[in-house]
Symmetry: C2
Amino acid sequence: MPATAIAQPAHAPRFVYAFGGPRTDGDATMRNLLGGKGANLAEMARLGLPVPPGFTLTTEVCTAFYAGNRAYPDGLQDEVAAALAALESAMGARFGDAANPLLVSVRSGARASMPGMMDTVLNLGLTDATAEGLAQRSGDARFAWDSYRRFIQMYGNVVMGVPHHAFEDILDGYKRHARISQDTAITAQAWQDIIRDYKDLVQREAGRPFPQDPHEQLWGAIGAVFDSWMTPRAVTYRRLHDIPAAWGTAVNVQAMVFGNMGDDSATGVAFTRDPSTGENVFYGEYLINAQGEDVVAGIRTPEPIDAMGETLPEVYAQLCVVREQLERHFRDVQDLEFTVQQGRLFLLQTRTGKRSARAAVRIAVDMAGEGLITREEAVLRVDPASLDQLLHPTLDPAAPRDVVTRGLPASPGAACGAIVFTSEAAQDRHAEGLDVILCRQETSPEDIHGMHAAVGIVTARGGMTSHAAVVARGMGKPCVAGAGALHIDYAQRSITVGPRTLREGDTITIDGSTGEIFAGAIPTVQPDLSESFRTLMSWGDAARRLAVRTNAETPEDVQTARDFGAQGIGLARTEHMFFDPERIQAVREMIFAESAQGRADALGRLLPAQRTDFVAIFSIMEGLPVTIRLLDPPLHEFLPHAPDDIAAFAAAVHLPEETVHKRLAALHEANPMLGHRGCRLGITCPEIYEMQVRAVLEAALEVPGTQPEIMIPLISSRAEMEHMRALVERVAEAVFTEKRKRIEFLIGTMIELPRAALRAGEVAEGAEFFSFGTNDLTQTTFGMSRDDAASFLPAYMEGNLLERDPFASLDVDGVGELVRLAAERGRSTRPGLKLGICGEHGGDPATIAFCEAVGLDYVSCSPYRVPIARLAAAQAALRAEQHKRG
Amino acid sequence: MPATAIAQPAHAPRFVYAFGGPRTDGDATMRNLLGGKGANLAEMARLGLPVPPGFTLTTEVCTAFYAGNRAYPDGLQDEVAAALAALESAMGARFGDAANPLLVSVRSGARASMPGMMDTVLNLGLTDATAEGLAQRSGDARFAWDSYRRFIQMYGNVVMGVPHHAFEDILDGYKRHARISQDTAITAQAWQDIIRDYKDLVQREAGRPFPQDPHEQLWGAIGAVFDSWMTPRAVTYRRLHDIPAAWGTAVNVQAMVFGNMGDDSATGVAFTRDPSTGENVFYGEYLINAQGEDVVAGIRTPEPIDAMGETLPEVYAQLCVVREQLERHFRDVQDLEFTVQQGRLFLLQTRTGKRSARAAVRIAVDMAGEGLITREEAVLRVDPASLDQLLHPTLDPAAPRDVVTRGLPASPGAACGAIVFTSEAAQDRHAEGLDVILCRQETSPEDIHGMHAAVGIVTARGGMTSHAAVVARGMGKPCVAGAGALHIDYAQRSITVGPRTLREGDTITIDGSTGEIFAGAIPTVQPDLSESFRTLMSWGDAARRLAVRTNAETPEDVQTARDFGAQGIGLARTEHMFFDPERIQAVREMIFAESAQGRADALGRLLPAQRTDFVAIFSIMEGLPVTIRLLDPPLHEFLPHAPDDIAAFAAAVHLPEETVHKRLAALHEANPMLGHRGCRLGITCPEIYEMQVRAVLEAALEVPGTQPEIMIPLISSRAEMEHMRALVERVAEAVFTEKRKRIEFLIGTMIELPRAALRAGEVAEGAEFFSFGTNDLTQTTFGMSRDDAASFLPAYMEGNLLERDPFASLDVDGVGELVRLAAERGRSTRPGLKLGICGEHGGDPATIAFCEAVGLDYVSCSPYRVPIARLAAAQAALRAEQHKRG
């Protein structure tokens, strides 16, 4: 058998794996070695599905290529030659054989999907001679020369570096000259003229002729795929998606099949279920008489897949069987690519289908219902972060709306912003704090930054699987794609839709779930969560160990969080309550008080207000634990700073402006983050904390069953903790005596300074709970101010000097060690110490997995992240369980 | 024997220890239990020295007193009664016996000396009846009534709370009325009249009569001593001197002897060597016909001790023998108090003599020479911090000077400042940044804060052992005491000296080594260190393990440090070199450069300047290692901020002021300490670091034998370290290639962020040395800005919430754990990792002991602290050795 010709020593790494021919070497488990595409092609071949034969150069070749300063490892050439010989034998065609040429595609395929990032070359093997042979053999000269010109264009661009537009200019020039608009109107002879011009262009731009040796073509394409692994845009994509460069990419060389060999030929992509809604329907698009990349690129708008039932009924029936088979085999939704060549179906790729959050939830729950997967697997199937998409408000159905046009509902959710036309403008306006909607003919990988900066994306061309649609779903941003009625004029910076003109900066609203585009801003409403969502969350809650609380203090936020399933409040920031316009005056008078009496008077006015706040919170939480942090920010945060405000305040309190300025100057701090705040205020101005403790406990006495937890911020030592504990207990005793009623409550602290973490064993002597304030702990552990990091963090991310933004996802190695240490030391002093996290990290799935591992009792996050935290905590518990079982 | 009457159960604590009579229970080793005074009285009694008998109530009584809410422990009354009976028996006199009354002194005596802090009562046992008896028995009625009135005055004030001045008013009124100026002119009868007025005063002020029962008097005095342990000024003193409250004080009850029984009586204090110079001469003062406290209080100016050789030759000879005996026995200089009662010598106290730093050095070296102590002991005898006094500049001998007057050279060193008359004014002016000299008639414990705030102290009255002199020596501040020519008028805020008048705010200069006071400011010069100093330092260096480097970058400072024995530079801050007026313009232009070329031009102008700096440093250090830290502060520190400066700069660089303001605003940071600085600058603006590395290496190539160590600031991760290391190596390679010459150099980092300490194992992969930047590490570990801490640190110190200022002495528990951890982790990666400390803590003896324990290689401190660090490091090594030997 030819495949045995791939001879090699027993111990050397094997670089080439065959699939789809007489022999298939790999399978789906070999993803790390063969890449996703290569592993799944092998798996499909093993399943007996019609896969054009080919072979895969492993990811280890890529790694060796970069390790060896872009030289291939020894033995690769021989292995490729042997695999190629086997492929020729399987196809009954030969590379460079003018009579019966073997044509191949060369595609990248990394371990993780990187859509649109890596380069592909089709029709490789065509030369002046073999194109002529293909024309004769296929009996379709136009097809043969069109294929050759596509190859020159693709290869010339990808391998030889000739700009894409230079080819397009030649083609457009020809069409203008011939007064035709469609490529399909170009004759075989005309394609030959164009090919001559293309080859001249290549010679001119690349300084060498277009290669006429298929082997040279093949090695050129292989090299280009490996090179594409390190292009800036691939590097950026990997950084954004946490993909290590060391993974490398595989290269798949596969016999060509043609979807553009007439009306019994087609090419398409399909999902085994609807990736947008999750509905169990076959979902996809195809184009008759087109080559593979035409669908994905979104250049022609394709037909829905079920239309194939009429145009190519036999192939469609076969495809439906394949759909069933793949889902049963892979136990998940598959995203497949196929080509029909003259009535014969070929599968070119299958992979796990990307899906919207809504679809992910429904598919997981449905598949568990169908018995395809377990409930635990269902819980693990949904990316917690993606729930964000389900939780954001949608358009208020009652609000008046002015529909401009409708496109494809490419990525769910609603967004409202100013029109921009370029990624640069998107970034600039975003940096200025403006919400923008990026409007493009179609998007390309160059637009990723702009899409990140935008709150929503609109394209005039392309389908549900176009670049814009796939990327927007991945980002969880609303997207309306293929809105063909839009005429976008980049030069004039305007969009015309029928008689209407929209200009850059105009506000529009889009609904990515319906595909509608509206003029102006439309109010939004709370999402109505699906039954599937509730089912999945209940399965997750059953598996979860960590409690989930929320960081909230306004009644609205507290109610939202409870509705989302929060099991308590982990952080109520009392200072937020001070900014109420009616209260800030009293706060300021307190700061300016000359005497203890003056301060007491001002605080006396704040007491009932704070008590009312707490009564409201306790009432909503109905006996769930509520952690209240005493005043944390430095006092100067409460003072007016603008000249007008200072003057107004001075007048209101009958003080000379000069006095206000002096006090402001006295309170000014060089580094407020490290300044006179937190318990330092409680130590220097105990009256403030006394008032707050009184307000908390008086409110708790009013709402039966309340479990208040009083939290002291910024503790760094046992002495501080004891001092503050004594203050709280003193006030509590006074309140309980006055009211002749006692309640249980806890006194604890935030662990937000490295010293507090290190001395946690001592601090726990005075604290019944620790709440990790990981925002400040990250700032102090890194010595990095969150407010100032914008000037250098981008350079860090760019240069791979930080894996992740440590303010978004906990730095497990550094900050995490302090958390782990504090948990251990605290519990060694006080075994029942309650431990939670209340930094923004509390809603980050990776951080939650860490919290599970460290054995915290709860995480606390903003209301909208509560469901995300619930699911992430469930997954963390399940994974820990799996890990324990081995 | 009477002493056996102190019966008690075997296991009960014993509260009372007798001394000096037929039986002595304690000895010098029992200092913790008996206090310093009690233990040494017992020891002297054991040595056979003439100690008036008495007994000591232990410090445990004090502890029990406060633990029991000011109630005495059970059994104390009986033990005191028994001890008193034994004392009566020993003295052949009885408490309250009109014919032959026993009189006692009641004095506090804590474990650590607290000069002037605690209360004393003399002549206790005198009543109307016993005073009469004393008059008859002594045959000196004037003496007896004078003693009684002294007792009423002391007891009335200390025990009964009658203000001291109220007694003084009565006495002054009498003297005015009688037209006499000296107390000695007051007759026995007159004293009786005054006593009557005193007793009326007591009745009026205290609401009860002066007690006529000696036992009541005794318990009142004992209670007053214990009470005095918790007075605010005692609490303050203990806080300033790190004395725990739990130590408690003992109470010594001792039979009275009288130095005021005529011209064959005297009282005095003496040092076995000169406590100011250390010279081996008997040194002290005495007053004929005076009672004990008269000398210490500094009210009369006493005679030098050797004058006693003429006035009381026999006693003097006896005293000289005692001097020898005490020094031999205690192996250290003793500070003793004695009284001569009618020709008979009594020793009332001996204790280790406080001494100036200069004296401490000389005494240690001399005693080692005399064979009294070993060289190691000599090294351990000198408090390293005290060397500060030896190292500060003295008056320039060549400078013109205008001597105002001369007092006693009470505490060495020179100081120059504005005259203030009150401690409050001293504190206020000091807070405003002014150097002040506190000028007082005499000082009292109430003045301690003012003395702390002043740079020097002047008193018009009092001797070398007056309060001002003792305290000033302890603080290491220059002091001129007893400058009797000064007439200080507090009301007019002026000093007159002969025809000259000085007013508050006028500048004077004092020389505490000569006692001179000068008008105006006089320039100072480097101290000339004594031979003893050099000897001691050489002994220390022989014992020392830690190297001592300096933090310096100007040639002057570098030279000073080398002269003081620095073994290298631990921290040369390159940014200090940027502030030179000729360079700051180039630095600013670099910051404002629009193009890479503009930035390169500005940096190109800085390069030769920096190179010249480094050549100078390397030349002075002659091959000793020099650690150069690359640019650390955020760029905005180099920009003009005052409106005038901004305008001037804008004009100089031909930019609109608006542009400068915009750039300033763009560079503004909320928390510069945690901002865009350190290696973050090196990452975002590599050109700056490239220039600096080039300057360092080009300079190193110019100075043969140089060992440069390039230090990267603010590293928090391995990735940063590797990135920076690559930059340094790239520039080095370029320089070495250009210059065709290579040198060895090290690349390392500051460990100044908690994360760097935690990840030290990884960071050490790219770092050949760590230098602990404990200033910033303290700021980040505590989350406490040094610049802002002044608003709350005092409250912390006041409330005992911090043991020590963590910016002065390393917080061993918190920051220290990070240092220890980083040292361990770094060395586990790189066993030869060089470790040092370059924060301000590097010159703090307690921190140096910690550095020795952690096994650092060197400490680095400011030039003037180098000798302190050398001695502290030697002591740390010796103590570690002692500890190892058990």
